[in-house]
Amino acid sequence: MAAQNKVESDSDQMPAAADPNAEQKERLIASVKKEVKQLMEEAVTRKFVHEDSGGVTALCGAVEACLGQGLRRRALGLFKTSSTTALLHKIAKHCPEAALVSARVLAAEGAPATRSASGVERRPSAPRPPLSKRGSGSLLSQSPPQSKYLWIRIALFERQLAKIIEHLVNNATRYYERDALVADPDYGSILSSLLVGPCALEYSKAKAPSCFWTDPPADELVQRHRMSAGTTTPPSVRRPILNFRRSLNASSDDSVSTNTGTGKTGGSTAKDYVESLHQNSTATLLYGKNNVRVQPKDTEEPMPGYLSLHQTAAGLVIKWTPNQLMNGYAESEGIDKSYRCHLVHASACQNTCILCSLAPVCTVYRRVCSGPLCIDCVYWAMSLQVCVWEVVYVHVHRSQASDALILVGQDGVQRPPIQFPKGGHLLSFLSNLETGLLPHGQLDPPLWSQRGTGKVFGRGKIRRRPMPSLCESGETEEAEWEEAAGDYVFRIVNNAITDREAMRRSLLERAVHSPPRTPRRPLASTSTTSSDSSTMSVDCPPSAGFNGHPPQILPPSVQYTEEVPPASIELVCSTMRRQIISRAFYGWLAYCRHLSTVRTHLSGLVHPNIVPREGTESGLTEELWRTMMDNKGVISDKEEVYRQVYYHGVQHEIRREVWPYLLGYYEFGSTAEERAEQDAACRRQYETTMSEWLCVEAIVRQRDREATAASIARLSEASGRPKPVENTEPCEVFEDDYSVISDNPPVVSPEPSENEQKRLDTKPVLSRAPSIDEVDNIELDSEEKEKEIKVNGETETGDNIDVDIDSLKDLDDDEEVHIKSVVENPDLRRESIAEIKRIAEDIVQKGDGRGLLCSVDSANVNINGSDLRSSLDENQPSSQQHTSVIITNPSVDLAPSGSPASGGNTANVSPARSPLGVVREESHSAGASFDMLEPTNDQRPETRSNCVSPASSNGGVYSNELVESFALNLHRIEKDVQRCDRNYPFFTDENLDKLRNIMCTFVWEHLDTGYMQGMCDLAAPLLVMMREEAVAHALFARLMERAKDNFPSGQAMDAHFADMRSLIQILDCELYELMHAHGDYTHFYFCYRWFLLDFKRELLYQDVFSAWELIWAARYVASEHMVLFIALALLETYRDVILANSMDFTDIIKFFNEMAERHDASAVLSLARDLVLQVQTLIENK
């Protein structure tokens, strides 16, 4: 697999042939390669490939395109649309594989009528003969575009495709034009061998989830990335995130690193090496000569080989490759064959070559293994690769037998002599060398003189021996030179240094205030690689291999430039070069300034001072926490706490203690007593608020029940309407009622409502209003409740009840105060109390339209509202109920609220459950407003909640709008609470109720914003951690202070998106460009949920805790916008996957939604901290 990838990726650099079709062929073969790669990856990651997989179709299409190209249709008499199918049938005579497939295809084509009749739905379980099973794969192919691929599909599934194509390739002349891809000796065999892999796969027809043909899921993408990363770059070497390279620099940098080879053929370059001997995109072939003899170090005598001269971006390179390698390469009919050899070989070979094992890629070309070093590796070791800029002198030794050329490097070391055959090859090599050196360098003395008409050799210096004067002898030079023996020395001079110096000088002269590279410094300093690349971008390319060049060469070369006539052209060139470079420089400067602006903008995101991370290796452990706490339980060193938490989180056991501090609920410096007081007060407050909304909830419930009953009733009316005439009238009345005020149709309602009540009663909520329907068993009920609560207390902490009682005692002491507080608490209450008074009076006395409707609703029995039965039934026990509640348990405080609430029958404000008699009584007392509270208190002194609730429920004659808006919120809350983290064991019904209470309490306090989806998710981890409702609620309220801006009502989300954009822009250019190409930052919806829920849905609970602590602590340590950096860290973690698949925003959304809860949280968080540090450093260095 890996080897195959290698073949594919590398052979993209195949030499471009001269004929015009080359490009098209290249494209065709490249598409096949790509599809094969995709398919093989799919096979590896999914363990099998489905026959209907998109990859199969795509591959078939690509193969079809290759086979169709250059087909001799006319000559073969193939005129059908699908001529390749006809071709298949044609070759069936000669090729047994083709015959097999041909038969299958015919069978499949003959069957479609029966197949379509048998139904489209494929039943995998139904046993079918293999033939039709295959054929069913062609179901899709009934449409014109697919049917073309039918035979290819079948051949692929039958694993014959590669053989058929091989047959075609071998007999290409019969079927194809000469310039066809299949007829091409290289491409043809590449094609057939590429298909060997796919033909070896298992294809499945099983109806697995993959048969829904979904796109590859996120984890598969990640997996694929790891796989391909293994072959290209080692996974450990992660790309640096701070990546300031612009694409220009990146490309030059890459080419430099690959082409300025070390001169030794390392295994990793083996493959590149052979291909680089041809003309390709990165190197131009200047000269090539075979059978040039070189005597490598360990050999007895010179060996023939292929000498070539290449012009690359980095400069000239001289290469020599032994014939053994070259011939082997030629004999193997191209890479594909050798690839196949390799496949065979890799399994058969037992010995591992020392060199190969060090350089595994070399194995691609390994064929014969003998001993510790395989033969090829020996040859590879012999081959030469010399960068001309590393050579100072070129010695030419000419003798009668041959011409030898010796290269002497900067270090004075001689390379093995290169012996040219006779016949002017040396000369042409040298002339090519000289041409290649231009414009940056030259041979000194020059090989060619401008003066003479012909060529002049070795005009200048003669060493050792006087050389025959050839220079002046114009015409006969070739012949004479050939015959003459002698030694010459040339020096290779590089002008690039002078050019560069001149350029620098000119740049400086242009009054650029800072030297060219300084503005880049702050960027470069934070990155490991960018410093290199930035240097590159300013320097001229040749400087790469040239840094150690002796400076004394400069004077003569400069002189020389002046002497020679083409100097003027050179001058023009250098001016142009200067202009180009300065323009590039200014563009770059503008870019830097822009980045600087962005950085300034971002400076608000992080704190300017970097808090050191020393001594935070273990984070805030319990031990540390205890030592920080003094004997009064005071924690004073908040900086240290924040610092520890920021760098290493909190030990899980003490999170419960620490979180209130982090969220600012507890003050640092508070004593344990103060905190206990705070808790108690908080709890009191919480209960008060709860009692308020619980009343409204009761009203809402009542209405709901009625509404439900109504619709059910209507439904049953509608469905079972045997006598429509009789039912019409009441039905209409009902409908009216429902639409005006959703009140209680008494006949239907009791049952469901009772059920409902019972269900609710079994829930151990802090307080709950039993309905009057259950008055009969109210005593039993309250006893049960008491038990329940006791159980609660036992199973949980027990302090719940204690505190309750405490607070109650407190309250008993000063009832006055308490009552005042209750009454004064929400402003609204006074109004509503006044209102209820008015309304109640209205209704009771006047019996207005509403009252009338009520009475209609309260049905057959209850027309006057003072029905005997109900008043007896319900009035009496209700007082019983009060007493029983009083005695048994204070936290059933709201139990009686049922009755007052029902008293609120006043219009549509409260449920019409109780008879009007009760109403009258209640409203009577309500008429006294305050007074009403007093007597109740007097009667039941111990139950403060008990008094509160009637108060609030009476006062709770809330405006209709209020009730309705709360009802809306309540329904939403319940919907979301019911489905909040049900997979997490903590959320039993009991705890879900707690969550619901927290939500309702919060929403009640913030009814203007109301409940918004996502709040549940934010509250859930707090509840999980704190366990206790009141405190969790308090923390949640703190959390929401920041988080509320993220919700649609706030503006923070857009700001987050914009900040993300800026951060990506300065920290990851490449990613930014990809994203920018797909749209602006308003499309950053993939991080919407991240910010809204503080990554709660992205991470597992345990990790959510750490992430949240980090966010909270970071506020005081490093950044108030830690979420941004965590988001960025998430993005950076998968940047390579995103880039490799060039995902658009849609893909990214899908990717991250699928990756939810699968992230490596600790890595992400620490990356986030690093990113903060990086931005801090950036800004500091500005």
Binding site: G54, V120, R979
Partner: protein, 210 residues
């Protein structure tokens, strides 16, 4: 690269929160049901490629947050969508009443020729039903939109709904294409495959379509 599909349709699921949009989508894309779905925050989508009259149609189905507070985000996705599923919950009258609001919302934000379909979900919960099928049909007639009652839990009509919507979009698209370039070939040969229903009898007996 050869495309692995012939058409790409973008569909959108809207409706009040808790009506079962995510469940419907999950049923269609994974053929599974999960009682403990969490509320959708922001936006998500799933992909399934279906075979429609011999064409591979890739459906990219966007799932939105139901709460109207989040409409600012979801409306961003109205524009590109070619088909919209309006989902209500037959056990929740309010969600049914809100369908009108959602339709208004579509008219304001989506392209004019977007294909629509109304789904009355949770039709397995007959005991809790608040909205009769007749009312759903009536509403659908009023707006001239196709309607079907579905159950993501029982996998009832979910496939049918998506196939129908996709087929409508495809028909509209081909019509448009034909209009723009005169008849290349008449669509007379179009093979109409059997409805890809799993339980054809059950939906016929229980739910109707218009």
């Amino acid at each position: 690269m050869a495309k692995t599909y012939d058409y790409l349709f973008k569909l959108l699921l809207i409706g009040d929160s808790g009506v079962g949009k995510t469940s419907i989508l999950f049923r269609f894309s994974e053929d599974a049901f999960n009682i403990s779905f969490i509320s959708t925050i922001g936006i998500d989508f799933k992909i399934r490629t279906i075979d429609l009259d011999g064409k591979k149609v890739k459906l990219q189905i966007w799932d939105t947050a139901g709460q109207e507070r989040f409409r600012t985000i979801t409306t961003a996705y109205y524009r590109g969508s070619m088909g919209i599923m309006l989902v209500y919950d037959v056990t929740n009258e309010k969600s049914f009443e809100n369908i009108k609001n959602w339709i208004r919302n579509i008219e304001e934000n989506a392209s004019a020729d977007v294909e629509k379909m109304i789904l009355g979900n949770k039709c397995d919960l007959d005991a809790k039903r608040q909205v009769s099928k007749e009312r759903g049909e009536q509403l659908a007639v009023e707006y001239q939109i196709k309607f079907v009652e579905t159950s993501a839990k029982d996998s009832l009509n979910v496939e049918y709904a998506f196939y129908t919507l996709a087929r409508d979009i495809k028909a509209k698209m081909e019509k448009k294409q034909e209009a723009s370039n005169p008849p290349a070939r008449s669509g007379a040969h179009q093979i109409k495959p059997n409805d890809p229903m799993r339980k054809p009898t059950s939906w016929l007996s229980r739910c109707s379509l218009l």
